[in-house]
């Protein structure tokens, strides 16, 4: 058979595909085609939903002591001896009689695995921080016989990059752990079975056998072979649980199990910072609908499948280090799942299972994971919009992203990696790149490249600001030069990192669930945008006198103008324009530098919880922020400065240009629940309108908390009263009681708006 014929071969699916509307998906690997032909849009309300089953409750009860213990002790157990692979651990169960979806990362729940291929130091630091002893055999293997991603990266870093890492102007780079932000199209395993996927990979490989072996072709051939081996391992892993996933799933139960196995394989093989599951709800709904019609399933069983899958997604655990926790607080792993949205033909992708997924937050209680993301389209059915807002109000566990804004870029079968990074499923991956400290960069510009805290020369020496006052044009020119340098250094570091990650810590399985030829993005990021915008506004509209220390370093700023200056977050174009143009300007500078594997440059305005860490490492800024104070998270205005209500705040953020931050713009809003004379339904309708307006004005992201400060203060004092108290931070949700005390204070100091 010729290679292309194999790629387009009609699958030998037996009756696995009975009842499905045929299409291109039968002859080529195309889950998207399957979904748009087979999904059943649902425009009704939530009344059909069912509660948690006895089996679900039994499994959940078994897990509760682990959760409680973990809150008190932190990491409960680590397998320090066995580097994690698909087949490293034998089967593990929580409650074998009651689990209808099976599979754990190791042989026991909450036992964490190690991933030394990313870097041994990180593993050993994590083990020690958790109170265990690193294993000498593993140590010997990864020092004597085997190199890691981390070793490779540090062989190629330049002294300049090392300085940037040390000073904190570039941090959080995935140079010692899994990069994550790759979403395997886990649905493929359910729809096609592993055998068919392997066949397609062989066919993809055969097509490049007669191509001249350039670096890229050689790399691709090796990767395809690795992918095939990963798929074979995946089938073997399923066998440990007595399941045969070589063929497509034949019913809903199997479709859930096959999809979950694929995801489980991914998290056994990679410890990426973010391990999204993709967009499975409406895909799996097709199987549920088929079984419901055949009478093989009822609503209670359908919900049970969702509840039990979500239980598994809530106990994913990776071993991290304290440094890592400071950046990404509360043990997140971003098992991000997308619900809602529209397809390219204008039909909604909301199905009953979109509701069922949200409903797990009631059946199992609020929780940060999976990171449920509503792809908000103004065209979605009104009852679904209302239900989403209701779930937000009751659980603060959802985030929203603008489907109408993303669909033109990414089509109608994209998922969200991590918090805000859209990618076409199975057709796109990203080289994750954390972020730079934009506020520090501004201070470097003012100080001729010297670090404002250490006084060290980090950026190349340039002319510092001279004289007593800051001049806007002068500072802008200097900042432009600094940004040029920073962009170049940043791309340089990223190229080194991802070259080595591919070489030493390649995500075989996740990439096996992609097409061979994919779009790669290289995702850069900035932290502290609102600090910089407010600072530049202060320089432009105020009269900023500088204070120097004995070494001539500018360390403080005083506005001697007689007026306060415009601040980001008030829908004031004078400063909002500064913020927007900074985003575009830095993106353009990044675009100048070629990337590893010719990846497309993208950028995010996102901090996770690193706004606290970045703030801690940054001196006084001209906007009046004091040394060490946190930045606003993501693209948020600085705490308390968005003083004209949420509408003004939203509209400022909505102006930031998505085309120049295609990796996402994170915005978190906290709203205090208030008594009004509006009825419940009216309130929800008003909130839906508010969402429509914000997204219609170009808003990208909305992380919504409905909670009051008093509850949070009480939770700090009495954490045991609030085991499941969930709040959204920048791009993800956390258990509030698992944040560090500093981060808890940061959350409380944020602006709380009145009722939306």
């Amino acid at each position: 058979m010729t290679a292309s014929a194999a790629l387009r071969k009609e699958g030998d699916a037996g009756d696995c595909w009975r009842g499905f509307r045929p299409g291109d998906w039968r002859t080529s690997i195309s889950v998207r085609d399957f979904i748009v032909r087979n999904a059943t849009p649902y425009t009704g309300n939530e009344d059909f939903l069912a509660g948690a089953s006895q089996r679900t409750k039994a499994v959940w009860a078994k897990l509760q002591p682990y959760f409680a213990d973990e809150r008190k002790k932190g990491v409960l157990a680590v397998d320090t001896k066995t580097p994690s692979t698909l087949l490293a651990h034998k089967a593990g169960y929580i409650d074998r009689d009651n689990e209808i979806i099976v599979g754990l990362q190791t042989d026991q729940p909450f036992k964490r695995a190690i991933f030394p291929f990313g870097g041994l130091r990180m593993v050993e630091a994590g083990i020690k921080a958790a109170g265990f002893e690193p294993d000498p055999a593993v140590h010997e293997t990864f020092t004597k016989y085997r190199r890691s991603h981390n070793d490779g990266v540090f062989d190629t870093y330049t002294p300049e990059i090392m300085n940037c890492r040390r000073s904190g102007i570039i941090t959080g780079l995935p140079d010692a752990y899994g990069r994550g932000r790759i979403i395997g199209d886990y649905r493929r395993v359910a729809l096609y079975g592993v055998d068919r996927l392997i066949e397609a990979k062989h066919a993809e490989r055969a097509q490049i056998d007669d191509m001249w072996p350039t670096d890229e072709i050689i790399r691709m051939r090796e990767e395809l072979s690795e992918q095939v081996r990963a798929l074979e391992d995946l089938a073997s892993m399923a066998k440990l649980y007595d399941r045969d996933i070589s063929k497509p799933a034949t019913n809903a139960q199997e479709a859930f199990q096959w999809t979950y196995f694929a995801y489980l394989g991914a998290i056994k093989e990679a410890n990426g910072a973010a391990m999204s599951i993709g967009r499975i709800s409406s895909f799996l709904d097709v199987y549920i609908e088929r079984d419901l019609k055949a009478g093989a399933l009822d609503e209670a069983r359908a919900q049970e499948l969702w509840d039990q899958l979500v239980q598994k997604l809530r106990i994913v655990r990776f071993l991290r280090t304290p440094d890592y926790d400071a950046l990404f607080s509360g043990d997140p792993y971003w098992a991000t799942e997308c619900v809602g949205g529209m397809d390219l033909d204008g039909r909604t992708l909301v199905t009953k299972s979109s509701y069922r997924m949200l409903h797990t937050l009631y059946n199992l209680g609020a929780a940060p994971e999976p990171n449920i993301t509503v792809l908000w389209s103004n065209h979605m059915p009104a009852p679904f919009k209302r239900y989403c807002v209701k779930v937000s109000r009751d659980t603060s566990s959802l985030q929203y992203e603008n489907d109408d804004l993303m669909r033109p870029f990414w089509g109608d079968d994209y998922g969200i990696a991590c918090c805000v990074s859209a990618m076409r499923l199975g057709k796109q991956m990203q080289f994750f790149g954390a972020r730079v400290n934009f506020a520090k960069a501004l201070l470097y510009a003012i100080n001729g490249g010297r670090d404002e805290v250490s006084g060290d020369q980090v950026a190349p020496q340039t002319m510092p600001v001279v004289g007593e006052f800051l001049d806007y044009d002068d500072v802008m020119a200097k900042f432009d030069t600094t940004m040029e340098w920073l962009a170049k250094t940043y791309v340089h570091a990223m190229n080194c990192i991802h070259y080595m990650h591919d070489k030493y810590f390649y995500e075989r399985l996740e990439m096996a669930l992609h097409d061979r030829d994919i779009l790669r993005t290289m995702a850069f990021g900035i932290a502290g945008l609102s600090v910089v915008a407010d600072s530049l506004s202060a320089i432009k509209y105020g009269k900023m006198r500088v204070t120097r220390d004995a070494t001539g370093l500018i360390v403080d700023y005083q506005n001697e103008g007689n007026q306060s200056t415009p601040q980001f977050g008030n829908n004031d174009d004078r400063v909002d324009q500064i913020a927007s143009s900074l985003v575009t300007s830095f993106m353009d500078k990044i675009r100048k530098h070629p990337t590893y594997r010719n990846a497309t440059h993208t950028q995010s305005v996102l901090t996770i919880t690193s706004n606290v860490v970045y703030g801690k490492a940054t001196g006084n800024t001209p906007d009046g922020r004091r040394k060490g104070e946190p930045f606003g998270p993501g693209a948020n205005p600085m705490h308390g400065r968005d003083s004209h209500g949420w509408l003004a705040s939203c509209l400022s953020v909505a102006k930031l240009p998505y085309k120049d931050s295609l990796d996402g713009i994170s915005y978190t809003v906290s709203v205090a629940p208030q008594k009004t004379h509006l009825s419940d339904t009216q309130l929800l309708d008003e909130a839906v309108k508010a969402f429509d307006v914000y997204f219609d004005r170009g808003g990208f992201h909305m992380n919504l908390n409905v909670i009051d400060k008093e509850t949070l203060e009480d939770a700090i004092k009495n954490p045991d009263k609030y085991p499941q108290l969930t709040i959204r931070v920048s791009g993800y949700a956390v258990n509030f009681v698992r944040l560090t005390p500093e981060q808890q204070r940061d959350v409380i100091s944020r602006t709380f708006h009145g009722q939306i």
Partner: protein, 275 residues
């Protein structure tokens, strides 16, 4: 300017808001037609000051001295920033499309919007040209000044009737009640939509006779769409302290839910649509 200390940042009332570099030097302008006026601050996301989501513009200047006032920092005209109508309207225009989509509008509050009648009227007229619903929040004390042409720019009057008893009214506000009642009657005659607002302060305005008096006065008025009972709160107390004023209600608690319900029921019993 009064001796205002820096207020807590983030408050929608804080004085930083609206103080803009483009504000002209007030001494350079002589204005009698309301092209310029004193604005204290604004807020864009209120659900309490009229239908839908409201942009609320707080003007400075008020003749009443209510004991429970939560904006004592707006009493004096020059507590505000001197700005042009154009400046104010440009700012409102930034929000107009969103506010319209949210079924809201502009509410001018204060202070007392009728202190700067011409200025207020020009802002209202401008907002209406943008297609916005307009409302004023007023004590009615200066109601006699509101001529037909002024009222024609107002879609809704949020009218504070603080008491039905002249003695109580004087004790609470240091002013006469009569002008407010006169204004209410005129609005009724003109069929101008009104939401009557009654601030419930335990120990000051909660007397059943007082409440009944307002209820009986308002009940026959067909133009009154709502009577809103507003429970007293302590959120403005920090300003009294910041300004060095004597705050008599330091120890007054917000009314209990039961008390609020009793008062709402009193209004309803008289035939008012109350909430």
């Amino acid at each position: 300017m009064s001796t205002v200390q820096p207020l807590e940042p983030g408050s929608r009332y804080d004085l930083r808001v609206g103080i803009s570099p483009d504000a002209p030097d007030e001494s350079a302008v002589k204005d009698e037609v309301g092209s310029f006026g004193y604005c204290h601050s604004y807020e864009t996301s209120s659900r309490y000051d009229g239908p839908g989501l409201r942009v609320v513009l707080f003007l400075s200047g008020c003749l009443l001295r209510c004991s429970y006032c939560h904006n004592p920092d707006t009493w004096h005209l020059k507590d505000g920033t001197y700005v042009s109508v154009d400046h104010v309207l440009r700012r409102i225009a930034d929000f107009a499309p969103s506010i319209q989509a949210l079924g809201g509008g502009l509410t001018i509050s204060g202070g007392e919007p009728m202190v700067q009648l011409a200025f207020t009227k020009r802002i209202l007229a401008g907002a209406r040209r943008m297609g916005l619903h307009t409302a004023i929040q007023t004590s009615g004390f200066l109601g006699d000044r509101a001529d037909e042409s002024f009222l024609s720019e107002v879609d809704l009057v949020l009218l504070d009737i603080k008491s039905s008893d002249p003695e109580t009214y004087r004790r609470t506000t240091e002013r006469d009640l009569a002008p407010t009642l006169r204004f209410a009657e005129r609005l009724a005659a003109l069929s101008k939509p009104v939401w009557v607002r009654f601030t419930l302060v335990p120990g000051e305005t909660d007397d059943p006779t007082n409440v009944d008096g307002i209820a009986r006065f308002v009940a026959p008025m067909k133009n009154v769409q709502w009577v809103e009972v507003q429970p007293f709160h302590q959120m403005g107390s920090f300003k009294w302290k910041a300004m060095g004023l004597e705050y008599k209600l330091e120890n007054t608690q917000p009314p209990s839910r039961d008390l609020v319900n009793r008062v709402i029921e009193q209004f309803r019993a008289a035939g008012c649509q109350a909430r």
